[in-house]
């Protein structure tokens, strides 16, 4: 019965979708709808030369706001799901916070980590040296992508994810201990909120200047095609990049944290 239902409905859907594909292929290009006007307006009214970024951060900036909220929600949700539920007690994240707040200089911490690494875990040297090589590249590439969001493909989200990949690289090369030493999960979570708030505040600039919410008020600063141009889009790229790198980084740290807990058991 269930098998029949599954095959029946899948074949029905396949048949209809193939039929609709043929119909869709014959439709006129969607470029003649709203996109045409958007592209026409891109340079004069936003100052960006990348139409996609102009749409993401200006024409449909509100959607992007929602998108970053989705990410924020998912990160908070993962944190909620992966926490240890206790009635009125400390979460593991708080324990991390306490550990990291012990008064030690950075040098000492690094020395300790080095000791630990040498003593406990023997890491694969290929992975370690590759990571040492890749880490700075990925970080600077991420920064580049965030900076040039309005000029070339990419933007805050992509760059943020690239930077957040650093967590994964550190974990692969040096293990969980190093990750928890280097990154302060709780503070990163706070940074995510700060990033989202600054994104919102940039949106609110429009209201401050007497326009509507999300109005690109300073779009005419700088020459289109230069690094500092396109008004709030430039800054929003920053805010979103910051928010995403914090959010994804936090997500990775939490998930890696659970892996570690299982190993210990």
């Amino acid at each position: 019965m269930k098998k029949f239902l599954a095959w029946f409905s899948l074949s029905i859907l396949l048949a209809f979708s193939v039929y609709v594909s043929f119909v869709m292929a014959a439709l006129p290009s969607t470029y003649n709808g709203i996109s045409n006007i958007i592209v026409k307006n891109t340079i004069e009214r936003t100052g960006a030369i990348n139409a996609v970024t102009a749409i993401v951060f200006d024409f449909r900036g509100y959607d992007t706001l929602g998108e970053s909220f989705v990410l924020f929600t998912a990160v908070s949700g993962s944190a909620v799901i992966l926490r240890n539920y206790k009635k009125n007690s400390v979460t593991p994240l708080e324990k991390d916070l306490k550990n990291s707040q012990k008064n030690k200089s950075n040098l000492e911490i690094i020395k300790e980590i080095d000791k630990k690494r040498d003593s406990i875990i023997e890491r694969d040297s290929i992975i370690v040296s590759t990571a040492n090589l890749v880490l700075p590249i990925s970080l600077s590439l991420g920064a580049y992508v965030i900076l040039h969001g309005h000029l070339s493909p990419g933007g805050g989200f992509q760059g943020g994810v690239l930077i957040a990949g650093a967590v994964a690289i550190v974990f692969l090369a040096y293990g969980m201990d190093r990750v928890s030493k280097v990154f302060n999960a709780e503070r990163i979570k706070v940074y995510e909120s700060v990033g989202a708030l600054s994104f919102l505040l940039l949106g609110t600039l429009g209201v401050v200047y007497g326009y509507n919410f999300f109005k690109n008020v300073i779009y005419n600063q700088g020459k289109p095609g230069m690094l500092y141009s396109s008004g709030t889009i430039f800054w929003m790229n920053f805010a979103v990049g910051y928010k995403v790198l914090a959010g994804i980084g936090f997500l990775l740290i939490t998930m890696i944290g659970t892996l570690n807990a299982e190993e210990k058991e």
Binding site: S9, T30, F59, S76, Y85, R187, L197, L200, Y211
Partner: protein
């Protein structure tokens, strides 16, 4: 008009700002009271800013628009995202903000014992903001984004108490089915974009008005199935019982009482606005059949449940069936019947929000006081929690439609609408399902609040004041909505129903005047909001009648009893065999009938039917996915065959 038009964005953004503020100060645990304050204040601010909108929109019938980023339409094309608040959106928004505000107060004490409260309030505010954003937006893709925030926040809150196995399982089922629904909605949006090359709802509805191509028909099928998942229509109703029973009650009241309304909102926008299908008999039939099926399955499943909150969740499914049936009748080509159906549906929306929130709050109060919602372990709580019992009874009577409470009025309108539209079997089923509703509510009352108090529950105390006050507000709402249907209808429902039918104005306000007429070539008639009740019902008069007779009876009895004997009720004496319950020789603690046994006979007599239903709700995720997909397939077959 300027301050009016920026109010919607304030209502949407305030909860989000509150959420991020809480996130920013979350590292300091001493600031927990501040977080609670932020949660309450932001929900209050969005409630107030929507209340400011009632005068121009609900009373004067205007439509507020707000173009984000000042991207006004150019060359009749909506290049930006526009918020558009008409009476229907505002109506739903008011339900959402009102319930959320009360829920935020309720959670202060209810969630006191849990950890990670900063994330609870963050997610709570994200849920609230996304619900308002969903209702007030005028952009199809933006609706999808808001829907996703809503789904994720709801999932995270469902799994909030992750020490219990069921919340994790429920969360997983919710995310699989819920994101499948969202995916279907996005798929529909993409297909519509491919056809019309725009994302603005007003423009889409102008472009594809009665102009069905295969692409839009498939899009309609996908979106109907998607919103069916969001509004718990059978067979896409499998996630709410799991999710609502495992979420904290302050959240499950929002999931069940309010979030289902957003699904219905999407459904109505889809049917009445984007695909203008008023007057299409085939569509009407489909929606009514779907609603009827939902009604029956929800009620039948509810009657065999043994968990307080799971029963309530299935009851929600059944009540949503009523609303969908009403909106199905609203598509009728006869305008007077259609208006009655739409009004009934809107009325039932607001009623369902009030009594279902109250019921879930009662369940939360029971859980807070006793630590369980399993009705086989509960009993006799009315002695320990008299206030909660009274409120529960009010809600139970409301949901089963006993006069003079609110459920009666809306159900009555739905009966009349379906019956006059010529769907007599649907009316009969609706009336019988109403008796089923009464049956499972009585089951709850008997097994949780009445009956014998188990030994373990001797120490139970009444819930704290903040919880009981919020519950009392909802109970009051139930009574007021029941006693003054004329006022509610005139100031809330009729503007909302009018705006649902007033497609022209919706499009014209978004673009330029006359745009809709140019696109449609003919004017769509807007039905009169007058309707005639087939009978007559004045609840306030009945209430007065009841009081008069009560007084008359008491006086009469008092006089006559003086002739016979002084009648003294001996309530002080609480010991002695005389005051024990007759148990036929059994010891009292072995005698009680647990809630699970109450309808054992009925279940046994109809074991074929109930057994089939139980087997169908197998708890395997794959089966549930299969159901949703088959529902989509059936819908697309029907729509392709009909349109």
């Amino acid at each position: 008009m300027n301050y009016v038009s920026s109010l919607p964005i304030i209502a949407i953004i305030t909860p989000f700002i509150g959420a991020f503020l809480i996130g920013a100060i979350s590292s300091n645990k001493k600031l927990l009271p501040a977080m609670k304050g932020i949660a309450i204040v932001s929900s209050l601010v969005s409630l107030v800013s929507l209340l400011f909108l009632t005068k121009p929109i609900l009373l004067e019938g205007k439509v507020a628009t707000y173009w984000l980023g000042n991207w006004m339409p150019q060359e009749q094309m909506a290049i930006g995202i526009g918020l558009e608040v008409d009476s229907f959106g505002l109506f739903t928004g008011l339900i959402i903000t009102f319930s959320s505000f009360l829920s935020s107060i309720y959670s202060v004490t209810y969630m006191k014992e849990d950890n990670a409260l900063d994330k609870y309030y963050t997610l709570f505010l994200l849920l609230l903001g996304s619900m308002i954003g969903f209702v007030l937006t005028g952009d199809l893709f933006n609706m999808y984004v808001m829907l996703e925030i809503m789904t994720f926040a709801a999932i995270s809150l469902t799994a909030f108490r992750n020490n219990i196995y069921k919340s994790l399982e429920a969360g997983f089922k919710y995310i699989v089915i819920g994101s499948l629904g969202s995916t279907l909605i996005l798929l529909g949006t993409v297909l519509i974009y491919a056809q019309t090359a725009t994302l603005n709802m007003a423009q889409i509805s102008a472009l594809i008005h009665n102009n069905y191509t295969p692409v839009t028909i498939l899009a309609l099928a996908f979106m109907m199935a998607g919103y069916g998942v969001k509004a718990f229509l059978v067979p896409c109703h499998t996630w709410p019982p799991d999710a609502h029973m495992s979420a904290p009650s302050s959240v499950s009241m929002l999931l069940s009482g309010v979030m289902s309304k957003t699904g219905i909102y999407g459904f109505v926008r889809l049917l009445y606005m984007i695909f203008f299908s008023v007057g299409m008999a085939k569509m009407e039939l489909l929606i009514i059949l779907w609603g009827t099926l939902t009604m029956i399955v929800g009620a039948s499943m509810a009657i065999i449940q043994t968990d307080f909150k799971r029963l309530l969740a299935f009851s929600s499914v059944s009540q949503i069936g009523y609303i969908i049936v009403a909106f199905g009748v609203g598509l009728s080509s006869k305008s007077s019947i259609g208006v009655l159906g739409t009004l009934g549906g809107l009325y039932h929306m607001i009623n369902h929000a009030s009594f279902k929130c109250l019921l879930f709050m009662c369940a939360g109060a029971v859980l807070h006081a006793t630590g369980t919602t399993d009705i086989t372990k509960l009993g006799g709580l009315s002695k320990k929690m008299p206030y909660t019992t009274i409120l529960f009874l009010i809600a139970a009577f409301s949901i089963s439609g006993l006069p003079p409470f609110n459920g009666f009025v809306s159900k009555w309108m739905i009966y009349q609408a379906t019956y006059e539209a010529g769907y007599a079997p649907v009316t009969i089923i609706a009336l019988i399902v109403s008796v089923f509703t009464l049956a499972y509510m009585m089951k709850l009352a008997q097994s949780v609040f009445f009956g014998e108090l188990p030994k373990k529950l001797e120490e139970v105390k009444e819930v704290p004041l903040t919880m009981s006050i919020t519950m009392g507000v909802f109970a009051l709402a139930c009574l007021v909505e029941g006693l003054f249907p004329k006022i509610i209808s005139k100031y809330l429902l009729e503007p909302a129903a009018y705006s649902i039918y007033n497609l022209h104005n919706y499009i014209d306000v978004m673009f330029t005047k006359g745009f809709a007429e140019k696109m449609f070539k003919n004017k769509i008639p807007i039905p009169n909001m007058t309707y005639e009740m087939a009978g007559y019902w004045r609840p306030e008069a009945w209430f007065v009648l009841f009081i008069v007779i009560l007084i008359g009876f008491i006086i009469g009895v008092g006089i006559s009893l003086n002739f016979v004997k002084k009648n003294n009720i001996d309530t002080t004496c609480n010991f002695g065999d005389k005051y024990g319950v007759f148990t036929g020789g059994e010891k009292e603690e072995f005698a009680p009938i647990a809630g699970g046994d109450l309808f054992w006979g009925l279940r046994h007599n109809l074991k074929g039917y109930f057994g089939f239903l139980e087997k169908a709700h197998s708890g395997v995720v794959n089966d549930y996915v299969t159901w949703v997909i088959s529902c989509t397939a059936v819908l697309s077959i029907y729509l392709f065959a009909v349109l």
